[in-house]
């Protein structure tokens, strides 16, 4: 039976609403069992610092006792586990030293929602996934802009052009404090690059691009020749007959070296296209194809391993940090799954 797109859309919409409702009900049930789920606890730590003038008139800040005259106090929140919170409550009911952090708890729930929204793409494209995708792209773009400003423009350009202003503004430990005339070169190249955005300045923008490409090519060429050609060729020049320290013939080491040398030569033979792949060259090339296939297979296996590890890490986040189903680190001192299993074992 053929179902048109117009017929499918409302049905798919209902399917997604149903799925999210089921998840919401399951989460609500889980939240009602035991001590609940998905809370983040923090403890505020205060440290007082006082200025100390040392040699050469340098001012450094040293840790001092709280309440010291002229001291500045910095507060920071340290993560605490649910187990630590429970212990503190048992010792002193209503204590405020360890408390639930609302903003961090909301962050945890948002992270769980985004994780589930990304997973939902496996079932099909949907608004939750699209929303999450947009958030990721927006946050990444914003983050990179901030990084570029604070890690490149300020310390590498402005600090060289206007050191006194930068020191007073945002880099109190900036040393040297000299105006560097050569910093005008990257500034000029940067302005020329930006001129690509205007129709009249396109030809001007090619010069900094040429500079970047030329520098990069030069850097890469030297390192590639050294590490990927010379060193790799050297690594292939192996003795085919290996003799051990005691003078005996090392069978496995010899076989391994032979395999490496044969593998390299046969794989290279496959890529020699100026000679027809017939006779000895053809046979070597076919063996080379096998080596290539094994290489691709191992690369695929490694990729699968990496992806499963990342998936496992996300599941651990959902099960341990959000749902509080398990507690492998012993942070909470109790788990729902462990409690259920022990109940079943006791019953049987």
């Amino acid at each position: 039976m053929t179902v048109g797109l117009t017929d499918q859309a409302p049905r798919q919409g209902m399917w997604w609403i149903g799925l999210f409702l089921v998840i919401a009900v399951l989460v609500a049930i889980r939240a009602g069992i035991g001590e609940g789920m998905g809370r983040v606890y923090v403890q505020t730590e205060s440290t007082s610092y006082a200025p100390v003038t040392g040699d050469e008139g340098r001012v450094t800040w040293s840790v001092v006792a709280e309440g010291t005259a002229g001291a500045a106090t910095i507060e920071r929140e340290l993560f605490r586990t649910a187990g630590q919170y429970r212990a503190a409550e048992a010792a002193s009911p209503g204590q405020q030293a360890i408390r639930m952090s609302w903003d961090r708890t909301i962050g945890l729930w948002l992270a769980a929602f985004f994780t589930l929204a990304v997973f939902s793409f496996l079932a099909g494209d949907n608004p939750a996934y699209k929303f999450t995708e947009s958030i990721v792209i927006g946050v990444s773009a914003g983050y990179w802009m901030v990084v570029a400003f604070w890690e490149t423009l300020v310390p590498k350009l402005l600090a060289n052009l206007a050191p006194d202003m930068v020191k007073a503004w945002c880099m109190p430990n900036l040393e040297g404090g000299l105006f560097h005339l050569d910093a005008l070169i990257p500034l000029g190249l940067g302005i020329m690059l930006l001129s690509q955005l205007t129709p009249l300045g396109r030809h001007v923008g090619r010069w900094p691009l040429a500079f970047v490409i030329g520098t990069f090519a030069g850097l890469k060429m030297v390192s590639h020749v050294e590490s990927d050609i010379i060193e790799q060729v050297r690594a292939t020049m192996l003795p085919l007959v290996v003799v051990g320290d005691d003078g005996s013939f090392a069978v496995w080491a010899s076989l391994r070296n032979m395999l490496i040398v044969v593998g390299v030569l046969c794989t290279l033979a496959y890529f020699v296209f100026s000679v027809e792949h017939k006779g000895a060259v053809g046979r070597a090339a076919r063996v080379g194809v096998w080596f290539l296939m094994i290489t691709f297979g191992s690369a695929f296996g490694f990729t699968v391993m990496g992806r499963i590890a990342l998936l496992a890490a996300r599941f651990e986040f959902l099960f341990i940090d959000w749902l509080w189903l398990i507690d492998p680190k012993g942070d909470r001192g109790m788990t729902v799954v462990a409690t259920l299993v022990s109940c079943i074992v006791d019953m049987t």
């Binding site: 880099m171 050297r234 990729t303 990496g306 590890a309 990342l310 890490a313 680190k329 799954v337």
Partner: protein
């Protein structure tokens, strides 16, 4: 399998293959035994060979996207270095690397080695932009790229940095890398130009096959993906804890090996089944024609 099995059943099967072992591990606390492969053993041996007090350059070249694979490696490296009373000098070529380094320092050094002092026994010098440009410069002038530590203290005032002028002054360099810039660039720009320098790399699964060709010549040892992390974690645990109980935060990589086993078994079964169906269909078509 067009018109046959909906691919979403495969996703569901993979979800169960990965999720159930995690729950099983969470309930029982059991992990599979690990026997080290030569690249992981080489990492362990390289650190063991260093005399006490040696300074080790550790580069955190990853971000949260690869944390599942690389954070256990970082934790094990840091624990091993601290146990051997070595002094890690931490840098990062990825902008979020310093944050990951701070997490590792907090989880390992501040939790289990509280007597170690920042600036004397370890230091986090933060991130520097420039990718391989940074590596090229630290090969000749380390302080030009990292003039201050993460809190803004000039490195000239840090005891741990005394006598360090270039990357080659470190007897050992470790990179924990998720891609570009990472293990490959460290080999190309640092290892190759400093023949005496020992370089270790912990890499993701995707990167492992690219970096493997550098082992054991340009890379003394490497941890390939979560399997390498689990092997190294087991070696470090055996050396430090012996027959005693390893704290759970130091078993993270081994806990992720049970999902690996069942995930891979499922994938192998699917590949075998897919091929069997393909050949069966081809046979049927040949008979029909």
């Amino acid at each position: 399998m067009s018109g046959g099995l909906d691919r979403r059943w495969i996703y569901l099967a993979m979800m169960l293959a990965v999720a159930l072992p995690i729950l099983w591990n969470g309930v029982t606390g059991k992990t599979f035994p690990e026997s080290p492969t030569p690249p992981s053993q080489a990492c362990f041996d390289a650190i063991e060979a260093l005399p006490e007090g040696s300074r080790v350059l550790v580069s955190f070249d990853y971000d949260p996207a690869s944390e599942g694979e690389l954070a256990p490696m970082a934790t094990s490296f840091m624990r091993h270095l601290m146990h051997k009373r070595l002094k890690p000098v931490v840098i990062a070529l990825w902008p979020l690397g310093p944050t990951k380094a701070e997490e590792t320092i907090s989880n390992v050094i501040k939790a289990d080695f509280p007597d170690r002092v920042s600036g004397r026994d370890f230091v986090n010098l933060g991130f520097q932009t420039g990718n391989e440009g940074v590596l090229k410069v630290i090969g000749t002038d380390f302080r030009k790229q990292f003039p201050v530590d993460r809190s803004g203290t000039p490195v000239d005032r840090l005891p741990i940095m005394e006598g360090i002028t270039k990357a080659g002054d470190f007897p050992l360099v470790i990179t924990i890398s998720a891609g570009y810039p990472g293990g490959k660039e460290w080999v190309q720009y640092v290892s190759s130009s400093n023949p005496g320098l020992v370089l270790l790399a912990g890499v993701t699964g995707v990167q492992a096959s690219q970096v493997y060709s550098y082992y054991p010549g340009q890379l003394r040892g490497m941890l390939a993906a979560i399997k390498g992390a689990a092997e190294y974690e087991a070696l470090v645990s055996a050396a430090i804890d012996g027959d005693g109980v390893t704290p759970p935060r130091y078993t993270e990589a081994r806990r992720r090996m049970a999902p690996q086993l069942f995930g891979h078994l499922l994938l192998i079964a699917l590949i075998v089944a897919g091929n069997a169906m393909y050949f069966a269909q081809r046979e049927r078509k040949a008979v029909a024609s």
